[in-house]
Amino acid sequence: MSLLKKNKLVFIFTVVALLAIGVGYGYQYMFMSPKKVVEITPEFTADADEFNNLMDENLPSWIGKVVQISGKATQVTQDGILLNGSIYCQFENSQDIQSITKNQIIVIKGKLVGFDELLMETKLNQCIIIQ
């Protein structure tokens, strides 16, 4: 009898503990912030020109994906840089731009958001400098 009672107590305690853990994880899942680019492994690593060809083939599949691209910084502006004249990259930390000089060869990782038909450029967001 007492053994059963003890077991029951243990059982209840275990259930409550598991529930608490579950709720804890659930809560974390509900309220976590979006992953940073730095935490995500790039789905694709390539040269800027090579990448443009791929984009022409199937753009929708690249939207929202993190990619790593190497190229030449053909234009450096206050808000971002242009790689090979066709890929516009904005940075996670805007101070990063100051370390880039025009015509420098650079490798960046960023999130692809789409192809801008007004300016005919591919846009990357939250970029970080890899090399």
Partner: protein, 182 residues
């Protein structure tokens, strides 16, 4: 004779080129907010909006990518892209419109303009009428304003379970700093 004609055409094209006064940005800020009181905030910001303003006639075009909207909450961002906006099928929203009576020369005396145009989201178009302010400082033009849209207008269905948490009218704030396009 023919070379002369070609020269004339060339000169004409060149003069057009010189006249084209365009201001643009690639990193304009577009924000929306659709929170109801007492619930967690439903808001996101996109800082890579492309905007082009033709200062001769006040025509304005802009484009914003859905995947570029950043939320504080990962789950909300995922739902926004996958369930509400279908960002893979409809990656962008576009706006084409005109600043009524825009004149670059009179910006000092008048910098509030009616903006009329068509906003396209998810392949559906909606006529928008609002007022924006345009300010010029050095070689930059600052365009800012607020307007409201309703999710229903763009066929965005909100599940009943969250219907009370999302405002019927979503507030959109625009804040663009344009530079001269060369």
């Amino acid at each position: 004779m023919t070379t002369n004609k070609i020269l004339i055409v060339l000169c004409f094209l060149l003069s057009l080129q010189l006249q084209a006064q365009k201001y643009y940005t690639r990193s304009g800020s577009t924000q929306f907010e659709g929170s109801e009181k007492a619930f967690e905030p439903i808001a996101a910001i996109n800082t890579s909006t492309t905007v082009i303003l033709d200062t001769r006639n006040g025509n304005i075009v802009s484009q914003v990518f859905m995947a570029g909207f950043q939320f504080k909450n990962a789950l909300m961002q995922e739902h926004f892209n996958e369930n509400y906006m279908d960002s893979y099928q409809y990656p962008k929203a576009t706006f084409k419109g005109n600043l009524d009576g825009f004149s670059m020369a009179n910006l000092n005396t008048n910098n509030t303009f009616d903006l009329n145009g068509v906003l396209a989201i998810k392949g559906l178009e909606k006529y928008i009428q609002t007022s924006v302010t345009v300010q010029q400082q050095d070689n930059r033009m600052f365009v800012s304003g607020v307007f409201f849209v309703s999710p229903e207008d763009f066929d965005i269905t909100i599940p009943s379970i969250v219907r009370d948490k999302i405002a019927k009218q979503i507030q959109i704030n625009i804040d663009y700093e344009l530079i001269e396009k060369k």
